[in-house]
Amino acid sequence: MIVVVGRLGRWALRQLGAVLGVSVLIVETVYWLTVAPLKGRGFRWRSAVEHFVEYGVRSLPIVGMICFLIGVIIALQASYTLDRWGANRFIADLVAVSALRELAPLMTAILIAGRCGSAITAEIGTMKVNEELDALTVMGVHPVKYLAAPKLLAMATAVPSVTVIAMLIMIVGGWVSSVLVVGVEPEIYLAQTTGAIVEKDLVTGMVKSLFFGLVICLVGVYRGFRVDGGAEGVGRETTASVVVAIFLIIVVDLVFTVLFYYL
């Protein structure tokens, strides 16, 4: 019993430490992203653009492909049920609503977490092991300014941008299988889709994806700075980074769903 309480206490303390660490990181990053540039201390725009290309543009092929296939699949699955009622035209509504509200933001975030969240942790962790972070500090360059701030801006813009495209592609995927396989009239599908899309769904999807981007980047950076003890340390934190990021993405998703649709 005492052992259990002790374990629980230590676990709680560790989590508290993590929360504190992340909070400090958030404050510092926001400072280097907003206050510092105004005070003339600079922001690495070029690095932010390069990272936007890496996180956003380079993620498009895989995100596009997967979202297209998911669109195709949802339409086919939906038809299985809707066909019995002769309601195949409502496939369009189902695809549009689930793409905008849930699936496009979620799939995009999870894929980018896998592709880039791990890369962020590995990059920063390796730099820490090689004393490159210490070298930056000694040169008077704050590692958060040099590494975290440009990445956060890039991620916070890249994830929503890719998400919009993913929404579109998913709807196209649904259109393709509905029209070619199920046999819905193309114009009807289009009309149903435009009828089903409401502004709120689009906005909530975008807001969520913005926060997904922040989560991916902050978890990646935090885990990278935490690396300790050589190459295994980098490996350990990199794996943990992806798992934790995906878990937090789902939690954030749940929170926003409740906030937007149940309050």
Binding site: E131, A135, L136, T137, M139, V141
Partner: protein, 265 residues
């Protein structure tokens, strides 16, 4: 004035990792323009001392003054200012792996100055020539040999024309000829720029070549300070054993000390 006489002053410095006191009441001062060598065996706290001097670690107590300004009483912000006047060469060079050698050297200039890109280019090339890496600017750190990497690290430390430069084991792990080349570079930089140089090492060969004065660390304490000749005349048995490269008479003691530092409680 006091600050004219000393580039660095360290007084009663105590540094600890958790409960483990690694540096115990260390005091010394470094004169402007001299090569000050910190000598000591493995685990004697040399790296820890250097990291504390450049502000990477906070001491538990004691005072560090750089050009008379008290580093330990400063905010992070003020420390960042001081850091522009110092350069540090890390043991593993710590070049940013994603940048070319030239970009590594240019990094402090790009971050701290508003110079034109063409000016930065020229300054970078000058620094690389200075350390004998004139043609290697376009290479990535991973494409360099160990000695070249050390030289690139020195070029980067020199980028902002520092007044003080710190070297952590500059010639460790290099073959004797390359190591001697680095020692010569350290001397040349000092005589050209009257650069105050603090060198951490455990290699007697390089101490003989470069040191103006030596500070001998033993178990986190200063065992002796002075010119090499003065230390060689010391009657401290540890200093004499170290300088003449004799196995310590009290080997059991050393293991005991190492264990006390690494003990997990």
């Amino acid at each position: 004035m006091k600050e004219d006489r000393h580039a660095i002053e360290v007084e009663d410095l105590v540094v600890a990792y958790g409960d483990k006191v690694v540096l115990d009441r260390v005091s010394f001062s470094v004169r402007p323009g001299e090569i000050f060598v910190i000598l000591g065996g493995s685990g004697s706290g040399k790296t820890t001392l250097l990291r504390t001097l450049v502000g990477l670690m906070r001491p538990r107590s004691g005072r560090i003054a750089i050009h008379g300004q008290n580093l330990t009483a400063m905010s992070d912000e003020q420390q960042m200012e001081i850091r522009r006047k110092i350069g540090m060469c890390f043991q593993g060079a710590a070049l940013l792996g994603s940048l070319s050698v030239a970009d590594n050297v240019a990094l402090p200039l790009r971050e701290h100055t508003r110079l034109e890109e063409s000016t930065i280019d020229i300054m970078t090339r000058i620094k690389l020539e200075l350390v004998g890496l004139g043609g290697a600017g376009e290479l990535l750190p991973s494409e360099l040999s160990g000695g070249m990497r050390k030289r690139a690290g020195i070029a980067r430390a020199m980028a902002m024309d520092p007044e003080i430069i710190f070297y952590d084991e500059p010639s460790a792990g290099l073959d004797p000829i390359v190591a001697a080349g680095i020692d010569e570079l350290i001397r040349n930089l000092r005589s050209t720029f009257s650069l105050t140089s603090v060198v951490v090492t455990h290699e007697m060969e390089s101490v003989r070549l470069i040191a103006d004065r030596v500070c001998m660390l033993h178990r986190g304490r200063v065992a002796g300070i002075g010119t090499l000749a003065e230390l060689e005349g010391s009657d401290d048995p540890y200093i004499r054993d170290f300088l003449t490269r004799r196995p310590a008479e009290s080997d059991a003691d050393e293991t005991e000390w190492a264990r006390s530092l690494t003990a997990v409680d």
